[in-house]
């Protein structure tokens, strides 16, 4: 107990106290400045009837559903490509991971310029390929904006999944593959019977990071569309931001934030449960 006391104290001060205080704020009409009043569960009740909050939640779910699969599949494929120490592996690892290192905010500003009609690279390349008009305005139409942001985020985030998968793949003993080859296993059988089962924990980690990241999406939408046109591409974190720092409804915004924490907690717990492996079950016995 004594040994873990510092860690417990740190968690209590920097996690539990702020979280508890946030829950308290969410039960008030906390304004930017001035007195506040305790309102009980009124903010949470309002959330369930707020069409803009509901739209933001649904949009976030849609966005998460669109990008999670491709991020994982492309990340996994890239890991397969670069996991062996073949010639050029280091270059491709660096190249695939680079977008994640540079950062989403910086790249969102770059994307904003490249998505400009008439002057951006996206329209130039796509028009040369006959896939889009040279004056396509990507960021002011709901469908086009969502498509552009999803492609952009998949490009950005797949590198992290690649790193997580590659680390797991490199940790699998080579003897397992050699034994399988002696038994006449094909490439697909080795991948399916050895690699995938032993990557279960890495896959769980990658998917949880990806899903949480999607639920917390903000930068790319704030920079590229500002939630527009209208509020059609407003994810739930941007809704919280707007309510708190534009509308100054801090109590109400905090209620939305607490609700988001609960939802993310539930989804993460479900993912952990579904992707648990034998080692987890053994540890519980």
């Amino acid at each position: 107990m004594v040994l873990v006391a510092p860690a417990v104290a740190m968690v209590a001060i920097f996690v539990l106290f702020p979280l508890g205080f946030a829950v308290y704020i969410s039960l008030t009409d906390w304004p930017l400045i001035g007195p506040y009043h305790f309102t009980g569960g009124q903010n949470y009740s309002l959330l369930t009837r707020d069409p803009q909050f509901i739209h933001s939640v649904l949009f976030t779910l849609l966005y998460t559903a669109i990008v999670t699969g491709p991020i994982f599949v492309i990340g996994y494929a890239m890991a397969m490509l670069v996991r062996a120490g073949r010639f050029g592996s280091v270059f491709f690892r660096t190249a695939f991971f680079l977008p994640f290192i540079v950062g989403l905010a910086t790249e969102s500003f770059m994307a904003l310029l490249e998505l400009q009609p008439d002057s951006g690279a996206a329209d130039f390349v796509l028009s040369k390929l006959g896939l889009a008009h040279a004056n396509t305005a990507w960021t002011v139409s709901y469908g086009l904006a969502l498509t552009a942001i999803c492609v952009f985020v998949i490009w950005f985030a797949a590198g992290l999944t690649m790193m997580l998968m590659m680390a797991g793949m490199q940790g699998i003993p080579a003897e397992l593959y050699e034994a399988a080859e002696v038994d006449g296993a094909t490439w697909w059988q080795k991948e399916r019977r050895i690699t995938l089962p032993l990557l279960r924990r890495n896959i769980a980690l990658a998917l949880i990071i990806s899903v949480i990241g999607s639920f917390l999406a903000f930068n790319q939408f704030y920079i590229l569309t500002e939630g527009g046109p209208g509020t059609s591409t407003q994810p739930v974190v941007m809704w919280i931001y707007e309510e708190a720092f534009v509308q100054y409804h801090l109590g109400y915004a905090t209620a939305g934030a607490v609700a988001l924490v609960v939802v993310i907690g539930i989804i993460s717990a479900a993912q952990f449960y579904l992707l648990r492996d034998g080692r987890d079950q053994e540890a519980r016995r």
């Binding site: 205080f21 304004p31 527009g228």
Partner: protein
């Protein structure tokens, strides 16, 4: 029961044994001046340190002023802290809640009403009344700092919207560069003439996806026509969209400009990030924008010779400007309010105001506009002339109405200009503004 956030925070802090940290923070406070508000010596020969928070957007101006003030006031020193334009309001609110605010703040003037309604700032009415140049202060700034007949702020610097035009392109298009547009009809005809030059040249430009930019540049034309989008006292305002002919005229002008392709195609998606760069590159005939915006984009030698400004006109004449920029405010709990007022009075002197143009800002005293000032700063003189007829909407929900992608102003503009449905646009504007104004009151 009314609960004070400050008391709750203090109690919570005690629970987690953070009282020591709070004690440390209070030990760093500035030495107080001996003068207190209400005394005759208030703002005279104050001593100690004045904590001054200014937005990064006024960085150059603030640094220059503070440097010069400190060099000439050995007993009173100003310590400048620059705040981000994105969280300056919440930073200030947090410091006020914590009971440790700065002594003077350069606050975006449209944000001032949010604080004055809560009694967060010191009442400066008696001191402002004593200023000999009170009648010459920027009317928009003063309006935003006035609540229930009392004045809680003094103009600090002005960020004004004007109509920029390219004299070279005017000549090439056969237009008189000394006869800039003074009506909507002339804006349209001049833009059409310049657009015909071709070779990548457009007659006009605007940041078509930047809500704040459009509010900054389109509204003055409406005000020039003597009309406003909201009316009434700040606590019981109503929207004035339905039947607003001046608004219809402004939206119609932009609709004509858009449908006649007088602007670059990428104007539709310009969210302000690249606003004005095409104008500075010499590819645009006319651009409504900020005085300081263009001054910072072009070479000094191009001002006057290639680029010139003129007041933003209304439908058939008249002019106005968006009276943006910052107000000086002194938080009610400021420790050195006397020092803060002494600094403010020093900044308001003409010697300091005359330096503003070179620092990319417009002075806030209209009496600074002398023949000598106009000769030395012809572009800023245009802005300063417009300042006398400037305005800024006094409302608690300006950001929500005018600066948001999903706000009613931009929804109305988009529907009218890009979709061409004026009646629906006006309905959207009326209902959207009404909803926000009702929430605020």
């Amino acid at each position: 029961m009314k609960l004070s956030p400050r008391h709750t925070l203090t109690g919570a802090a005690a629970v987690v044994l953070l009282a020591a940290a709070a004690a440390c923070s209070s030990s760093g406070s500035s030495p107080s001046s001996t003068s207190s508000s209400g005394s005759s010596s208030f703002g005279v020969n104050a001593t100690g340190t004045v904590q001054f928070w200014a937005r990064t957007v006024s960085k150059t101006l603030a640094q220059k002023l503070v440097s010069e003030f400190n060099a000439t006031h050995k007993n009173l020193q100003v310590k400048l802290t620059l705040t981000s334009i994105n969280d300056d309001v919440t930073s200030l609110a947090t410091s006020i809640r914590a009971g440790d605010p700065p002594d003077v703040v350069g606050l975006n003037d449209i944000d001032v009403p949010t604080f004055t309604r809560e009694g967060a700032f010191m009442d400066l009415t008696q001191y402002i009344n004593a200023l000999t140049y009170k009648a010459d202060l920027s009317p928009g700034h003063v309006g935003l700092a006035t609540y229930n007949g009392k004045e809680y702020g003094v103009p600090y610097w002005a960020d004004l919207s004007v109509l920029w035009y390219n004299k070279t392109l005017f000549k090439e298009a056969g237009l008189n560069p000394d006869d800039p547009p003074t009506s909507y009809a002339q804006i349209l005809s001049d833009a059409q003439a310049i657009n015909k030059l071709g070779h990548g040249v457009n007659g006009f430009t605007f940041a078509g996806d930047c809500q704040g930019c459009l509010g900054f540049t389109v509204q003055p034309g409406i005000w020039a026509d003597g009309s406003y989008l909201t009316s009434g006292n700040i606590d019981s305002q109503t929207a004035s969209i339905t039947g607003n002919q001046a608004l219809v005229n402004a939206l119609t002008l932009y609709r004509q400009i858009w449908t006649q392709h007088l602007v670059p195609d990428n104007d539709r998606t310009d969210n302000g990030t690249t606003w004005g760069q095409d104008f500075a590159a010499g590819k645009i005939g006319i651009m409504p924008g900020g005085y300081g915006q263009v001054v910072n984009l072009v070479k000094p030698s191009q001002l006057g010779s290639e680029f010139m400004d003129t007041p933003l006109p209304g439908t058939n004449g008249g002019y106005s400007t968006f009276d943006g920029g910052d107000d000086f405010v002194i938080p009610a709990a400021a420790k050195n309010a006397s020092g803060a007022w002494e600094f403010i009075q020093w900044v308001m002197q003409t010697q300091q105001q005359d330096q503003y143009p070179a620092l990319g800002a417009t002075p806030v005293r209209t009496d600074v506009l002398t023949p000598a000032f106009s000769t030395a700063n012809p572009e800023d003189a245009v802005a300063l002339k417009a300042l006398a007829k400037g305005y800024a909407p006094v409302t608690l929900v300006y950001d929500q109405m005018f600066n948001q992608a999903g706000g009613p102003w931009f929804q109305m503009f988009s529907t009218a200009v890009y979709d061409g449905n004026m009646s629906l646009a006006l309905q959207q504007g009326q209902s959207g503004l009404t909803r926000l104004l009702q929430q605020a009151s």
